[in-house]
């Protein structure tokens, strides 16, 4: 796959291919991690859980970020009607990201950690990511020109690229002794950055989602409408101030928690809108359901409803005190990263890479089996985690708690269920993405 060949695919496609490899790795590591819950001591000496978890988490987080960037770089020329400002800068960014991912993976296998949740690699490995991201910002701004008379997704992409850099840098503040001198100060800033960072990559993904829906429906009315911008500003407001719900039980400033509690309730508007627009969504779904990328968008829509409902409940401190530190939080994360982020990203991937793929057309039936298997298994996975979370929440509140190990034994049926569902989910993703890697036969290209 020569990146510099003029006849080869656009560089954005290589972002997507690389991201898909990371997804395949991520779900495989996830399956191994699940087995370690089920079989105590499984691979303890070679690939123990403190290695499996970061391998899984980093692969999946990088899948989301790199696929979001790849999708944005694919849609940007379709929006502006001209090439991106510099393919060379995008290529350099991709090389830096690949280099960082390789170094991080080798580091994890060798047991070299920075040990921060989600970004568990040494901070030095962040350097190529930061440099690459600076190139992306320059490339994006140069490609867009100005913000006037632009649809909402252009604003969302700009917000996403800028805030990701800021929050990523913020997540590295711990290297300065001032910020890590007290565990509470450190955790406050750490979760401030993480909460907003998720919001920033959501901006990239939702921006692509709006672009794709415009493309499918053939009209751009929504993306220029006031309601689109109103929802964007609500999203931005939440990105900035809604992160405190991660640390309700941390003895940090009370105002951080109160602000987050109030701000998070504005998401009720988003939930209300989904319910209000349900009928319209169903009729639109019927109209375009034949189109593969649209199916992923519909699946993501349902997962938005489920995940947002759970998130809203968890944003009430009085409920959060029960759910915090339990698998309900994991259920929320899985719903958001797989149900929403991954399904939306797969919609973009199938739109961008799948449209001209001979093997995607040939394997439509197996991709559909993968699609339904992924959705059903994810639902079972999600429910199992909620079940495990409720059982742990009851244990946490008991006055005469049995020891931790006994409680974990009681969760075994839920673990069994989520491991089986996780295995089906991983297999479903493999089935769906393998045809995307197959090169079209010459006869298909000639047509």
């Amino acid at each position: 796959m020569a990146l510099s060949n003029n006849n080869s695919k656009p560089v954005s496609h290589y972002f997507l291919f690389f991201a898909l490899i990371l997804l395949a790795c991520g779900v495989t590591y996830g399956t191994i991690g699940g087995l370690q819950y089920l079989i105590p001591g499984y691979l303890k000496e070679t690939l123990s859980f403190e290695k499996t978890r970061p391998l899984h988490v980093s692969s999946v987080v990088f899948w989301i970020i790199i696929a979001a960037v790849g999708s944005m770089l694919s849609y940007l020329p379709q929006h502006t009607g001209k090439k991106i400002y510099s393919s060379m800068l995008a290529r350099i960014q991709l090389m830096l990201m690949i280099g960082a991912a390789l170094a991080i993976t080798i580091g994890y296998y060798a047991g070299i950690f920075g040990g921060r949740e989600y970004w568990e690699f040494p901070p030095l490995f962040s350097l190529p990511i930061i440099i690459g991201w600076l190139l992306l910002i320059y490339n994006y701004i140069s490609s867009i020109g100005n913000l006037f008379k632009q649809p909402v997704y252009v604003w969302m992409w700009l917000t996403g690229v800028l805030f990701f850099l800021f929050t990523y840098l913020e997540s590295l503040l711990w290297v300065i002794p001032y910020f890590r001198s007290h565990v509470i100060n450190d955790m406050t800033i750490q979760w401030k950055s993480y909460g907003s960072m998720v919001g920033s990559w959501n901006m990239l993904i939702y921006g692509c989602g709006i672009f794709l829906m415009d493309k499918i429906s053939g009209e751009k009315k929504y993306s220029y409408s006031s309601i689109a911008f109103l929802l964007y500003f609500i999203g931005l407001f939440n990105l900035m101030f809604n992160w405190g719900h991660h640390i309700y039980t941390l003895p940090t400033h009370a105002y951080v928690k109160h602000i987050s509690y109030i701000v998070s309730m504005t998401e009720l508007l988003l939930l209300g809108r989904i319910i209000y627009k349900w009928k319209d969504s169903v009729s639109t779904a019927r109209k375009y359901f034949y189109y593969l990328p649209f199916r992923f968008m519909v699946a993501a829509d349902i997962w938005i409803f489920l995940t947002l409902s759970l998130a809203l409940a968890m944003s009430v401190p009085a409920i959060n005190v029960f759910t915090h530190g339990t698998h309900i939080t994991v259920a929320h994360t899985m719903g958001a990263t797989i149900g929403i982020n991954t399904f939306m990203l797969l919609a973009f991937v199938f739109d961008i890479l799948g449209e001209k793929s001979y093997y995607v057309k040939q394997n439509r039936k197996s991709i559909m089996i993968g699609f339904w298997s992924a959705n059903i298994s994810l639902f079972i996975f999600w429910i199992s985690l909620i079940g495990a979370g409720i059982t742990k929440a009851i244990w946490q509140m008991k006055s005469n708690q049995e020891i931790f190990g006994e409680m974990m034994k009681n969760l075994w049926p839920y673990f069994l269920s989520f491991v089986i569902a996780g295995f089906v989910l991983a297999t479903a993703f493999w089935i769906m993405i393998v045809p995307l890697f197959r090169k079209n036969p010459q006869s298909a290209n000639d047509k």
């Binding site: 001591g41 007290h182 003895p251």
Partner: protein, 132 residues
């Protein structure tokens, strides 16, 4: 919505966010605490062994092992040492030097003294807020 209005709203939000961030950086929850070098080293030991993959502090971290926020006062230093050195059927034994082990213990003591992570200690108010 006119473009100028969008820019104004965007800039207002960015200004509010920047001010909020700067305020938090300058006024952290715990101020004027001298940096305990050994606790700081212990924190690095905690991170470099990726303890957070399996364990939680204040309910944040992995779920395979127990929350360790208050393990120091509940179980004591010798108990922690035995687990880290010997491992368990699930946890590998970590071959920490004596120096690293001491630093880790000081860090866990520092975490323990910062508060309680036990949700049973929270008071729940009618408006949905909680208090430690």
């Amino acid at each position: 919505m006119p473009d100028k209005k969008k820019v104004v709203i965007f800039l207002l939000l960015v200004t509010a966010y920047s001010s909020y961030s700067a305020y938090l950086y300058l006024r952290p929850p715990f101020q004027a605490e001298p940096i305990d070098e050994l606790a700081d080293k212990g924190k690095i030991v905690w991170q470099e062994n990726n303890c957070t993959a399996c364990h939680q502090i204040y309910g944040l971290g992995g779920y395979l092992g127990p929350d360790l926020t208050n393990v120091y006062s509940k179980r004591g230093a010798e108990y922690i040492k035995a687990f880290v050195k010997g491992g368990t059927p699930i946890m590998p034994s970590f071959k920490l030097s004596e120096e690293d082990m001491s630093a880790l213990l000081v860090f866990l003591e520092h975490v323990d003294q910062s508060g309680s992570s036990d949700p049973r200690n929270f008071r729940i108010h009618f408006n949905g807020t909680i208090e430690q």
